[in-house]
């Protein structure tokens, strides 16, 4: 009897996890009332993107890889420089912070990732929305913030908005892929690899998130120039006022 119950539980897990993956789609949102036409006279402060690249262990833990991260940073940096002129408004690059300021920027990048992840999980993802966020969706409300302390970020006084870009890639290890294959044989869905990317525009006076493009399943291998360009285009597509187009499918 217990065995039958366990098999039923396994099938339930299969259904729920498969459904979850199918529903985890890319989404973009804009704060109510926010518009940014091209050549609006506004200045965008571009922070150096946070790029984390590594492997996903058999148990699903992130294991950073320094070489892959360096490749990702290099290629994503090149792509961003090629695309930032097409964002439609004046873009200035934040200077490389040092000391306390570097810590402050890094902490804000981590907070931006946590906020973006929460938006995906609890406002975008239909099957898992928080009841209070469902109410927001019904009223067309998209209210998320990093907090007014963003005004203390280096360079914030010289710009209107801050552009935050964060990507994390975990390539499935051999052990993880083997687990995925065995799980598939057993009819169970186990995800191998994580490819998350978030791009967000933040009001540098209030900390309010004005625009967000957040996707838990991004394309493009950031370790290659072509893949990094595809990823960066995906991140910046639908940026308010921009002419960045998504790369055509290969």
């Amino acid at each position: 009897m217990n065995l039958i119950r366990a098999i039923a539980a396994a099938l339930l897990v299969l259904c729920t996890s498969s459904f979850g993956l199918a529903q985890a789609q890319e989404r973009t949102a804009v704060r109510q009332g926010f518009t940014l036409p091209p050549n609006s006279g506004k200045t965008i402060l571009l922070f150096r993107p946070t790029i984390r690249v590594g492997a996903q262990s058999t148990g699903g833990m992130f294991e950073p890889n320094a070489d892959w991260t360096a490749q990702g940073r290099e290629h994503m940096g090149v792509s961003l420089r090629q695309l930032q002129d097409r964002l439609g408004n004046r873009v200035i690059e934040a200077s490389e912070p040092i000391g306390e300021q570097a810590l402050l920027v890094a902490e804000h990048m981590a907070l931006f990732a946590a906020v973006s992840s929460s938006v995906i999980n609890y406002q975008f993802f239909v099957g898992n929305r928080l009841p209070t966020k469902k109410r927001d969706n019904r009223n067309d409300v998209f209210e998320w913030t990093l907090g007014p302390q963003v005004a203390r970020l280096p360079g914030a006084a010289d710009a209107d908005y801050g552009l935050f870009i964060y990507t994390e890639d975990q390539y499935g290890s051999t052990g993880r892929k083997v687990l995925q294959a065995f799980a598939m044989l057993g009819g169970v869905g186990v995800q191998s690899g994580v490819h998350s990317g978030y791009a967000g525009l933040v009001d540098l006076k209030t900390g309010e998130l004005l625009w967000l493009n957040a996707d838990g399943k991004m394309g493009g291998d950031v370790r290659t120039p072509e893949g990094a360009e595809k990823r960066m285009r995906q991140l910046l597509e639908e940026f308010p006022g921009s002419s960045v187009q998504t790369a055509p499918a290969a």
Partner: protein, 200 residues
């Protein structure tokens, strides 16, 4: 024979269940002004504002409420934790055991019990306990304490907790949020929840 063939599949299923997003699970609305029992216990709360109760429980005798997601503001209730029991659900009793409440645990041991649990369960290397002070909770002598730690996503978080031991069993309410903005933004909401706590 059938059992031995199915065993790996069932183990993987269990692992997938633990790692899969809480898909299709309904998170519940906790309405302001309504009294609700928490963590499957006789501990009740009457919140002065709306909260969301996450369907995923961090432990058998635990429950989490949030406003924007547990990464941004997390109130967790732990109720009726008996000696020999961990605070959170153990991923693996053999490979990743969690600290257990001891029968001779004192209120002053609770902060280290929480620290040990967080370090082991969340893989935290940087954790520091802040100030602690005696207080009253559920009409009994209790301890209130603060802490700060860095999670593997490189975000610094702060926490505040209040705990009481009733007949050797632990009742605790914690609040965890990023140090930047979110901790200060909702700390008074947490304290209002604590102030409304009652036990039958």
């Amino acid at each position: 024979m059938l059992k031995s063939l199915l065993k790996p599949v069932l183990l993987i299923s269990a692992a997938a269940a633990l790692t899969a997003p809480a898909a299709l699970s309904a998170n519940d609305l906790i309405k302001s002004g309504e009294t609700v029992a928490v963590a499957k216990s006789t501990l009740s709360i009457t919140p002065p504002r709306d909260w969301n109760k996450l369907s995923a429980r961090p432990g058998k005798k635990a429950e989490t409420w949030t406003l924007d997601g547990e990464q941004l503001n997390d109130i967790s209730f732990y109720s009726d934790i008996a000696p020999g029991e961990p605070l959170l659900r153990e991923r693996s009793k053999k490979r990743d055991p969690l600290p257990k409440l001891r029968s001779n645990s004192l209120l002053t041991d609770v902060p280290e019990f929480l620290e040990g649990t967080y370090r082991a369960h969340f893989g935290i290397a940087v954790f520091s306990l802040g100030a602690s002070k005696p207080t009253k909770f559920l009409n009994e002598p209790a301890i209130q304490f603060t802490y700060e730690y860095v999670t593997p996503d490189e975000l610094t978080r702060r926490g505040e907790a209040i705990a009481v031991l009733r007949s050797g069993k632990l009742f605790m309410i914690t609040y965890d949020a990023p140090k930047l903005h979110f901790f200060e933004r909702n700390i008074e909401d947490y304290r209002a929840v604590v102030a409304s706590a009652k036990i039958a």
